[in-house]
């Protein structure tokens, strides 16, 4: 109770007394699909998104308070409506340690195509399908700094269900998700307190991190109950490794996990490189080439089991911050693919326009198809954002 009082006192003083850093953005996002949805969903949908971020340093920088809400309204699928705190946290900074408490979002990731190790936060799959839209997670995170790196302990009280598209939403599996019910392995259901540990180090050009998570899986399995896909969240143990090596223009990356709780223990990994050729033209453009391989020993039970990711990223480094990205991730056995093209540039100092296109496709032979329900889900999305 005392903690809550002092936290709210801090938040209040932060909000009303201290001048901190504030940023805010409003986005209008429109998605246009090539085809109507297989279950009769509309060919287009529009979202309005608001994100706020407030950060302030208190007590000469020994406390940091961050308040970061996010809200979304969608015109077709009420399951995409959202209000969430990406962060509502207070960090106490000591000599050689930090204690971060409250709701936070944290990313454990080195590869670009896979999000294997990243596990603390639940995903919001009603945003983008790239696994980068997350929900804030209540946590207590103690960081101990050492000369060689840091050790972090996490207590994660409370579980948040994955946000899944509704019957009118896209992209989704052929059967609708049961967004009202969820089953848990843990008797505590969504009230279990999970735990995690992360040890990370930096040795010159080498960086590594070892992570251990024990708790309710953020990723659900699905059971068909009354004609709907009902999420089931097992209790898992997951060990993760992230490895990165920087050599000149090359960044070599690897991440892998071993997870128990989804049937037999399984292993998945992704690795590759990012090569940046800087100043490719007299006008100072940067060109990045990314190549990664994804592996999963469950084989064809899972889509990203033997896949290659290739992408080109072109940054113009111009006044408008223009960026282009083209990439494909493709199954090495069947040729099933997801291709993306992304463009983004700034207008003036407060607007940004982004346009993304996604194409899905695969082999004709039904037995080779892993994600056939995506093949008619090609779409273009255009997003206009105003920053304040």
């Amino acid at each position: 109770m005392a903690r809550y009082l002092s936290l709210s006192a801090l938040v209040l003083s932060a909000a009303f007394v201290q001048a901190g850093e504030v940023r805010q953005e409003f986005s209008l996002e429109h998605r246009q699909f090539d085809d109507p949805g297989a279950q009769g969903q509309a060919r287009s949908d529009t979202s309005l998104v608001w994100e706020g971020h407030y950060r302030t340093d208190l007590n000469e920088g020994s406390d940091v308070v961050v308040i970061a809400p996010r809200a979304r309204l969608n015109n077709r699928d009420s399951e995409r409506n959202l209000f969430d705190f990406q962060s509502l946290s207070w960090t106490r900074i000591g000599q050689g340690w930090e204690l971060r408490s409250g709701v936070r979002t944290e990313t454990w990731q080195v590869t670009e195509s896979a999000h294997l190790v990243d596990i603390l936060n639940q995903l919001d799959t009603t945003g983008d399908v790239d696994g980068e839209d997350k929900l804030g997670q209540p946590m207590l995170n103690l960081v101990l700094y050492r000369d060689w790196g840091s050790v972090e302990f996490y207590a994660l009280p409370g579980f948040r269900e994955r946000r899944l598209p509704g019957e009118d939403g896209r992209l989704r599996l052929p059967l609708p998700y049961d967004t009202e019910h969820a089953d848990y392995e843990s008797a505590a259901e969504s009230l279990r307190t999970d735990a995690a540990l992360r040890v990370s180090a930096l040795f010159g050009d080498w960086e590594w991190a070892l992570t251990q998570f024990s708790g309710t899986s953020r990723e659900p399995q699905f059971n068909v109950v009354n004609g709907k896909l009902r999420p089931y969240y097992p209790v898992i143990d997951q060990s993760g490794l992230e490895l990165q090596y920087a050599a000149g223009d090359w960044l070599w990356k690897f991440e892998g996990i071993s997870r128990s709780g989804f049937g037999r223990r399984y292993t998945a990994a992704a690795g590759g490189f990012e090569y940046t050729y800087s100043g490719v033209s007299p006008s100072g453009h940067d060109l990045g080439i990314l190549l990664e391989y994804l592996f999963d020993d469950r084989g064809r039970q899972t889509p990203l089991n033997n896949d290659v990711f290739l992408a080109l990223r072109w940054s113009l480094n111009d006044l408008d911050g223009t960026e282009l990205l083209a990439g494909i991730i493709s199954d090495a056995d069947s040729g099933e693919y997801l291709a993306v093209a992304e463009f983004s540039r700034r207008f003036g100092s407060a607007w940004r326009l982004s346009a993304d296109a996604r194409w899905f496709g695969g082999p004709d032979r039904v037995a080779d198809q892993q994600l056939p329900f995506l093949y008619d889900e090609d779409y273009v999305s255009v997003e206009l954002t105003r920053f304040f």
Binding site: V66, E106, V110, Q244, A246, G248, S278, S349
Partner: protein, 266 residues
């Protein structure tokens, strides 16, 4: 930040009064090296630094754009400085942070914190010819200065503005550098850099000139310019940098420059 500052501070090579007598007998190479070494030596001991930076980009066609950043830097042993650069403008990159751990003669370690993804990403720092935020500065121009990274030749002494200046040629040893050489103009009295001429590696031609001015002395010792103008001689564009609220010894420590510490920014 110091990194930026010294690069431009290669420009700012903040300096002390130098007794030139010791170096007068040296040959041209030695003389140039010793001037630079002395300026380096005299810049030691600043500990940490914080400032605000405004970048005004003026294109050949008259368009003008402003960038706002805040910088923090920590002095390390033997040139292993650390720095943070936080973006305030343009608004779509507000909150983005560049963290750099500099090493003389080695590639720096560099990370970028992307607030939109809550993610700290390592970036490759070896090749640094890319333009910085659409300005006339490249990442290399903004990098920390390290004495051992160049070969020096003393060219001449000549008048520059109201001062008399050493004119020193510097050739980068790093094969990834975008420049064939630089020519520095540093005043004889205080070793402040007033002008730098940049010679492009591809063409060998004089492509850019940077002019530094409005020097202030901090802690009775460290000279810092509060204005730098980089002019592109090929297209007529120029970028001006103004530093404000320069502060030294504000109590920054090693922990503030850890990669893990970037996460508390979210």
């Amino acid at each position: 930040m110091k990194r930026f500052k010294r690069g431009v501070q290669r420009v700012g090579l903040a300096l002390l009064v130098l007794t030139t007598s010791a170096i007068l007998q040296a040959d041209e190479v030695n003389k140039a090296y010793q001037i630079m070494a002395e300026s380096e030596r005299r810049d030691e001991g600043w500990q940490d630094n914080r400032s605000e930076m405004q970048m005004i980009i003026r294109r050949g066609d008259g368009r003008e754009i402003v960038r706002e950043l805040r910088t923090q830097a920590l002095e390390g042993d033997s040139g292993e400085d650390k720095s943070l650069m936080v973006f305030d403008e343009p608004l779509d990159v507000r909150g983005t942070v560049f963290l750099t751990h500099s090493y003389p003669l080695e590639a720096d370690d560099q990370w970028i914190y992307l607030p939109s993804q809550n993610r700290v990403k390592r970036i490759s720092s070896k090749r640094r010819n890319g333009r910085f935020m659409g300005s006339e500065f490249t990442f290399e121009d903004l990098a920390a200065f390290a004495l051992e990274e160049y070969d020096y030749t003393y060219l001449r002494q000549e008048a520059c503005g109201e001062h008399s200046c050493h004119v020193i040629e510097m050739r980068p040893k790093d094969k990834y550098s975008g420049y064939e050489k630089f020519v520095y103009f540093m005043d004889v009295d205080e070793l402040r850099v007033w002008r730098v001429e940049f010679y492009d590696k591809r063409t060998g031609k004089h492509s850019k000139t940077m002019t530094m001015s409005d020097y202030t002395r901090y802690l009775d010792r460290y000279w810092r310019a509060s204005r730098a103008v980089m002019k592109n001689l090929l297209n007529g564009a120029e970028t001006e940098i103004r530093w404000r609220k320069e502060e030294f010894r504000v109590g920054l420590n090693e922990q503030d420059f850890r990669k893990t510490a970037l996460e508390r920014r979210q």
